[in-house]
Amino acid sequence: MSTVQFGIFTVGDVTTDPTTGRAPTEHERVKAMVTIARKAEEVGLDVFATGEHHNPPFVPSSPTTLLGYVAARTERLLLSTSTTLITTNDPVKIAEDFAMLQHLADGRVDLMLGRGNTGPVYPWFGKDIRQGIPLAVENYALLHRLWREESVDWAGRFRTPLQGFTATPRPLDGAPPFVWHGSIRSPEIAEQAAYYGDGFFANNIFWPRDHFVRLIRLYRDRYAHYGHGDPEQAVVGLGGQVFMRRNSQDAVREFRPYFDNAPVYGHGPSLEEFTEQTPLTVGSPQEVIEKTLTFRESFGDYQRQLFLMDHAGLPLKTVLEQLDLLGEEVVPVLRREFAAGRPAHVPDGPVHGASLRTGARAAATAG
């Protein structure tokens, strides 16, 4: 495993291909996600992360089922989420599901917690969206204990109390899965990640750089404030979004209809405006390399870089071609460049075993 972990994260959307008018079936999409994950390992990427959604047009409602299957079909790929809903899932079930997955995958598991951005999911799961931050805070406080204490007594605001509860299976080797806290805009979440000494993943793909510079600086400063290390030792993950062809103009021509009709930002700013303001890069592998290298200048040395590659109706064949380019031409150069000049005290991307130390440190601080 390298100093910076590279991988992909998927939303799992079923979107009509605007160039053909065809949408995959849910079955095709689910199977495509597995194919994409296996391809990620084949081309030398480190991480595959899946979103969690409970409404069409998205298919990944059951991430640990998907990741358990992927675990059985891969050898070294790290399996993660983007994100696991800490607000509407029962923290007890998260503790159980991911500990189980961790055993099956021999430790190749971490997870990214998020609040979710689909309003009705809260009432569907019996929760109140106005309590989003308190839910994230309380549920994680419980999850954190369930993985570290054999017997938990608990009373909180949002779930039924526990007396003498033991979450099983216990984390592999006594080391809980590493946790990232994902956020687009909330400083409270950066603060939460800093408090526990956990990772902070800034999903920066839709918003301008300045916003995330502030958010990550906050996280780093607070990480140090809580005694986990120097600001530059905080564990930072970033998003990215790319579409490549060897010839830059071909990439732009091919990707434009997908961009223009994309579910999140389609029919809004032009591809050129979006490329200028966000991490999106549409062009040659070299352009992707150059843009990604600027992330370190903006945010400091970081630990994980995930790319969004398979959304907006792009056909599976195209996505696999993209992964070939990413794995063969982009990531090897990024690994080399990011390793050069990286200070020795900056931690590597988190893996099982290394999280033993992180876990112990966070537990000591959280008391």
């Binding site: 931050i133 308190p134 805070v137 309380e138 406080a141 909180g156 605001r157 805009r185 909330s186 400083p187 409270e188 950066a190 603060e191 939460q192 800093a194 408090y195 839709f206 918003w207 301008p208 300045d210 916003h211 502030r214 958010l215 600086r217 906050l218 996280y219 780093r220 400063d221 607070r222 404030h225 809580y226 999140v264 930002y265 389609g266 029919h267 809004g268 700013p269 405006e273 979006f274 303001q277």
Partner: protein, 230 residues
């Protein structure tokens, strides 16, 4: 000598030249006659595409962000919209829709509108004032409506001409802004703490980044946990 007021004018007129802009300029000048003010005018016409993009993407482009920051950081605000289909214009509303929640809390605001005839003048009371009440702004008692005919007539019997209404509204806004500023200074020993402390930077912005935005008002994690146990 007191610091001049940071007075921001938001005008949603679409014509060039625009009678909405004309009214906005007169209101700004009237306000500045009663309190020294530095005036910045935000023409929404030039931001229309950026506002639409913000609605779709959830983030402002650089130019729009600059305008939103100016509005959020103003000591006093003058807002002027043309009347379209019996209410404020869609562009006017959309601009305030993309403003950060809480950005206008406690901000003195002078409401104004233009229209073809005086029959729509209650749009100020039935549409604009509730909007700015929702935004928790402090609206000046006098709101100014200018119908086309107002630009060419004096006062009718028992009423004030446009110029007098403009003057009174400007005086009220200036007084309100100075009172708010004086009060907050008396309470806390520093100016303008009523609104988010833009420009001061949060713990994550030691270098004093302009508009420290989302890191302002951060609640330390112990307090977040404690609030749940309470």
């Amino acid at each position: 000598m007191a610091q001049p007021l940071d007075l921001v004018v938001v005008t949603a007129g679409l014509g060039q030249p625009s009678s909405t802009r004309l009214l906005a300029d007169r209101l700004a000048a009237a306000t500045a006659r009663h309190a020294p003010a530095e005036v910045r005018t935000v023409e929404l016409r030039g931001l229309a595409t950026a506002v639409a993009h913000h609605l779709l993407t959830g983030f402002p482009g650089a130019e729009l962000r600059d305008a939103l920051d100016a509005v959020a950081g103003a000591d006093a605000l003058i807002v002027v919209t043309p009347v379209f289909s019996g209410s404020y214009s869609g562009l006017f509303k959309s601009f305030f829709d993309v403003l950060e929640p809480g950005a206008l809390t406690g901000t003195p605001v002078l409401l104004a509108a233009t229209g073809g005839t005086a029959r729509h003048s209650l749009v100020l009371e039935h549409a604009l004032r509730p909007l700015f009440a929702y935004l928790r702004a402090l609206t000046a008692p006098t709101a100014v409506y200018a119908a086309t005919e107002d630009w060419g007539t004096g006062a009718a019997a028992g009423t004030e001409a446009l110029a007098e209404r403009v003057e009174r509204a400007g005086r009220e806004l200036a007084g309100l802004a100075e009172a708010v500023r004086g009060r907050t200074r008396a309470v806390t020993g520093q100016a303008y703490p009523v609104r988010a402390a833009d420009g001061q930077g949060g713990p994550g912005a030691p270098g004093g980044v302009p508009d420290a935005g989302p890191v302002d008002g951060l609640v330390p994690f112990e307090e977040q946990l404690a609030a749940l146990r309470a």
